[in-house]
């Protein structure tokens, strides 16, 4: 492939190993008529987008639509984003915005149907959302982690969902969209992870397992 940037080895390395770098390559080759890299990217990054959207409280059915919308918007985006890292940020921000719009519409729908309390079927249909399936978590340690995670403030849950699902070399992009800190010594733990660690540390089922 023809890379225009005469970047350092480190930059080239980031471009090929990071999700943001692969996203850039995928978009470039898609525009040139080859959808293969894009297909790989969709395969790889759909779980990340899924968890971002779900983290915003969008139900599973709507989340499927939102994820597809984001991918469509991605290939339609004609703006040339040079920085590979910016593409990952673009995907994440788009997923969040689309999720906000969707959950906003949902709330509006519920508000409109509120004057009909006797018709609680509509609400029942909405709540097909499967409850968190704890029995699926066979390991007690996993159950403990999940319960403690759910005790975190909503914003922390969203952030950690994203950080946990995202690709390591992309911490810079993650930091940009989440307010995490990247310093010379590395990525700092951040407030949310510190909280989760403290909760787990105080839980004997986690410590002793």
């Amino acid at each position: 492939m023809n890379r225009t940037a005469g970047g350092t080895t480190e930059e080239a390395d980031v471009a090929s190993t990071s999700l943001g770098g692969r996203a850039a390559a995928a978009l470039e080759s898609y525009r040139a008529g080859d959808p293969h890299l894009l297909a790989e990217l969709v395969q790889e990054a759909t779980p990340l987008l899924w968890h971002i959207v779900r983290g915003q409280g969008v139900d599973r059915d709507d989340a499927e639509d939102v994820v597809q919308e984001v991918w469509l918007a991605f290939v339609r985006s004609t703006s040339t984003i040079r920085e590979p890292q910016a593409l990952l940020k673009w995907l994440v921000v788009s997923a969040r915005r689309a999720a906000w719009r969707t959950s906003g519409r949902r709330r509006e729908d519920l508000r409109r149907t509120a004057p009909l309390p006797e018709d609680d079927r509509a609400v029942a249909v909405r709540s097909t959302e499967p409850p968190v399936d704890e029995p699926l978590l066979v390991a007690e340690r996993d159950q403990t982690l999940w319960r403690r995670f759910l005790e975190l403030p909503e914003r922390c849950q969203q952030l950690l969902r994203f950080v946990a699902m995202a690709d390591r070399p992309d911490y810079k992009a993650i930091a940009e969209v989440t307010g995490m800190q990247v310093t010379a010594v590395g990525v700092t733990r951040g407030r949310c992870l510190a909280k989760l660690r403290a909760l787990l540390d105080a839980d004997e089922r986690w410590v002793e397992a």
Binding site: V42, T46, Q68, W71, L136, L145, L160, Q181, T183, L193
Partner: protein, 165 residues
């Protein structure tokens, strides 16, 4: 009292282990739906086709009257006609022996068409005869879009809107 963890310290191995475990747990309690990747790719494929082919519009949708109850031999079939000047495509959908969908199609004006059926996860190819008739004997149910390209290159390639087979 348990230890406190400073938010400003660099992440350590235990932090990474917690995040890895969390990723695993998230995949268990809230798995990405099977087929979401395929459906996303299908949407992107259709988007790509859009730029390249003319989309047909539905002209007519005929669902035959339901026959008398108990007439189990009746095959449920529906016929859809699509058009975009100068090409008209008519398809009849019926149930294949396997439980899938059989598509009998016909493109006009009569000529040989290369036929592609796009659906999430796969693309099926067929070719029509000189009269424009083609058969896709057994296609899984679900959303799909047909693309017809004149083999001799005369005339535009056309696609149907997404239909639910």
């Amino acid at each position: 009292m348990s230890a406190t963890f400073s938010p400003d310290e660099p992440m350590d191995a235990a932090d990474h282990a917690v995040l890895e475990a969390l990723a695993r747990v998230l995949d268990r309690v809230d798995p990405v739906p099977a087929g979401l990747v395929d459906r996303s790719l299908f949407a992107l494929t259709l988007e790509g086709l859009h730029a390249e082919v003319t989309e047909l519009r539905v002209l007519e949708l005929a669902v035959p009257a339901v026959r008398g109850a108990g007439d189990r031999g009746t095959v449920e079939a529906r016929t859809i006609t699509f058009t975009s000047d100068p090409i008209t495509v008519m398809i009849t959908l019926s149930v294949a022996p396997s439980g899938g969908v059989r598509i009998d199609g016909w493109g006009a004006p009569a000529q040989r068409f290369s036929v592609e059926l796009y659906r999430p996860g796969a693309t099926v190819h067929a070719e029509s005869d000189d009269g424009g008739s083609f058969v896709l004997p057994d296609v899984p149910r679900g959303p799909a879009s047909l693309v017809l390209r004149p083999v001799d290159g005369a005339g535009p390639a056309v696609s149907t809107p997404v239909i639910e087979l």
